[in-house]
Amino acid sequence: MIFNSIEFLFFLPVVLLAVRGTPARFRWAVLLIASYVFYMAWNPWYIALIIASTLVDYCVARAIPNAQSQRARRAWLATSITVNIGILAVFKYAGLFTQTAEDLATALNIEYAAPAINLLLPVGISFYTFQTLSYTIEVYRGNQQPERHLGRFALYVAFFPQLVAGPIERPGHLIPQLAGAFAWNPTRAREGLALILWGMFKKVVIADRLGVFVDVIFDSPERFNGPYAVLGAIFFAFQIYADFSGYTDIAIGTARMLGVDLMRNFDRPYTAQSIREFWQRWHISLSTWFRDYVYISLGGNRGSLAHWCIAILVVFGLSGLWHGANWTFLIWGLLHGGAYLLERLAAHISGKEYSSASGPITRVLRISLTFAVVCIAWVFFRADSIADAYTYLTAMTRGWTNLQLYALDWITAERSTGGLGIPYALTLIAFLYIAETFARDGNFPSAILRQSTPIRWTWYIATALAIMNLGTLNERPFIYFQF
C-alpha cells in the first residue's frame, strides 16, 4: 500500500479507530497486524522476509548478552549481519553481480552465461534490514537492552508508517515508544494531519508534476540541448526531494497521530553550503546510520590521512550502492565522497571550515556550487546506466547558443500538464524552496499551525484542493520505495 492511494485514505482512519478502541496493553498487536496488512497489500508472500529477519534478530539479540565470550558475541552479531545482508544480497544485488560477472567474462573472452535471476525486489528491504541491523549492533555494543517482547520487537521492525522508506529508526528511540500506550492526543493529531497534508502536497502536486518532465528528458537526453538538460537535472533534484521528504512528512505525521515520534530525516538540504552540510541535511537517518555503524567501525578519523580518505570513500560508495543494484548508484556515492574529501582537505590545508560563516553573497555562491555538484551527481542517480548518464551530461554541455531548439517531447510533456508547462513547474519549486527555507526549522506545517484561524483554514483548504486537482493522473509510487 502506498500513502498516495485511496486505500491508505481509508486504512489510516480505520487503524486510528482500532487503536483507540483497543485496551492499551494490546495496541501493539493492532499496530503489528495493521503493519503486516499494509505491507501485504503490495505482496503477501514477501512478509515472510520481514518475519524471518525479525525472528533471527530477536533471537540473536537475546543470545548476545548471555554469550560466554567475546568471540561468541561476535559470532551472534555475524549471524545477524549475514542473514540480513544475505537477504539484501539475494533479493537486491544478485542480478547485478551475475550480470557484472557475465560482462567481465565477455570482456575477457571467456564463455559464461549468467543464470537469469528474476526476483521481485521486496519493497522497503533496504530500510527494514538496516533498522533491524542497528538493533543487533546496539545490543552488541551494550547500548540497548534486548527486547523481551517478541510482538513489540516485530512492531519495531515493521511499524507501517516508516516500514517501506524510513526514516531508519534507532532502537533506543523507537522501541521505548512502541512499549507505550499509543495515547491519543488531539494536539499531536492535528500536527500529524498538517504534516500529512504538506507531505501529500509535496508528493502529488510537486514531485509527480516534475516527474512528468524528468521522465521525458531522462528517457532520451540526446534529443535535448543544454538548457533543457540542465533544467531536467534541476527538476529531478526537486522531484526526488519533494518525493522523499513528502513521504517522510506523511510517515512522521501518521506516526504522530498514533502517538509515536519519528526522527527527522530532512533539513532543507538545498540550503547546504557544502557537501558535508548536505549530508547533515539529506536522508539524515541513513547518513547517521553509515556514520555510526560503518564509518566508526572502519576507524573513523583515528588513522592516517590515507586511511581516513579510504574510509570516507567506502562509506559513500556503500551508501550509493545501498540505493540500488546499479553501478550508477556507486558512482553517485563516490562523487559525493570525492567532493566531500576535497572540501575537507581544503579546510585542512587552509585551516578554515569551507562552510564557516560568511557574507550573504558568498553564502549564495556556496549554496549554488553545492547544489550544482549535487545536481551533477543526481544525473548518475537517475540514469539507467553509466552510458546514459554520460549521454545526459554531454547534452548538458551543448546547444547553449541555440535556445530556440525545442524538443517535441518536451512540448508533449507540457501538454500533459494541462498546458501549464515549465513556468508552472518553476513556480512550484520556488514555492517549496521559499516555504521550507524561511519556516522555523524548515517545518512549514508547524509554522502554519502557529498562525491565526483564518490563515490556517485557508491553507488547509487551498492545500487540499491543490492535492485533489493539480496532481498527475496516474498514481506514481514513491521513488525510494524501489530501494
Binding site: T187, G471, N474
Partner: protein
Amino acid sequence: MTHEAKPSTKILCAKVALLFAMLAAMQWLLGPIATSWHRPPIVDEVAGYQSGANEIVYLGDSTLVEWEQTGDPDTPTILDGLMPDYRVRSIAHAAYAAPMYDAIVERLLREGARPALIIAPINLRTFAPIWQRDPAYQFAKEQLFLKHDQDWFAASFVPAAAFGGYNLAPADQHEFSRIIAPIHQEQEPDAKFARLAEASFMHEVEKDDPYLTRYASLAERCRDAGIPLLLYITPVDIDAGSASLGQAFRSRIFANVDTARSVLQPTSVNVLSLVDLLESNQFRKQSTYPEDHPNVAGRTHVAEKLAKFAQDLLDAAP
C-alpha cells in the same frame, strides 16, 4: 506550537468534519474545471453528436487511412461518394479497436444519436498481444470519459486518478517491451518480416478474447437500439504472409475469421469478411510485415463492397 487553546478530540473531529464538508462543496465547483483539462478530444467529438436519419457512422482504425501522403481519399470519403443518399461520418483513429468502438457507440446512443447505419472494421491484428498489450493502444482515459458524463465524475475524476482510483495505464511498458524487443532486435529483413507476421497474425483468437467480447457487446447494443450494424473483417495481404510463413498463415487467418464469426453469430450481426478481397498490389508499399493497409485502389474496392452490403442492409431496415 499551537495558536489556540488545546483542542479536545470532539472539537478536532468536528473541525475535520467541517473541513471535509467545505472541501466537498468546493470540489464540486472546482473539480469539473480540473477534469476538463484532461478531457480527450474524442469526447467532445462524440458528446452532443446529433445524427440525422440519413447518416452513416463509420468507426475505424489505420486500415481506413491514406498512409503514403498522396492526398488520396480515405475509405469513409470514398464510401460517402458511393452512397449519395447518405452522409458518411467517420470517427476514426489509427489505433482504435473494439473497446473504443463499443465505448463510442454506447455514448452516441446515450446522447440520443440514431444513425441509419453503423460500420466498424474487425482488424485481425488487434487480437494479437502485440496490439492488445501496447500501452499506446489502450485508450483507457478515453473509454472512461466516454462512459461517464455525470456530475460526480467531473468533480472527482482528477483526485481519484491521482490516488490510483482508476487504472489509466492497463498495459505495462516493460511487459510490452518483452514482447516487442526480440522483433525489433532482428536485423535480417526476411526474418524480421516473418517475426512480425507471426506476432501480428498467427495468434490464435480465443472465443473469450476480450476484444471479441467487446464486438459482441457492440452488436447487442446496436441490436437493442434498433440500429443496423455492419462489421467487416479487414483485408490482409495473405499472399505476402503465406510466402513468408507458408500455408499456416492462410490457415490461421481463416481459422480466426471463423472464430470471430462464430462468437458474433448469436448477436445476429452482419459480419462481412473482406479478409482475402485484395491483391498484394492493392496494399501500400511496405515490406516489414504482411500489409493490412490498403492503398487507394484497395480502399476503393473495400468501399464498393461496403456500399453494396450497406445498401442492402439499409433497404432491408424497417
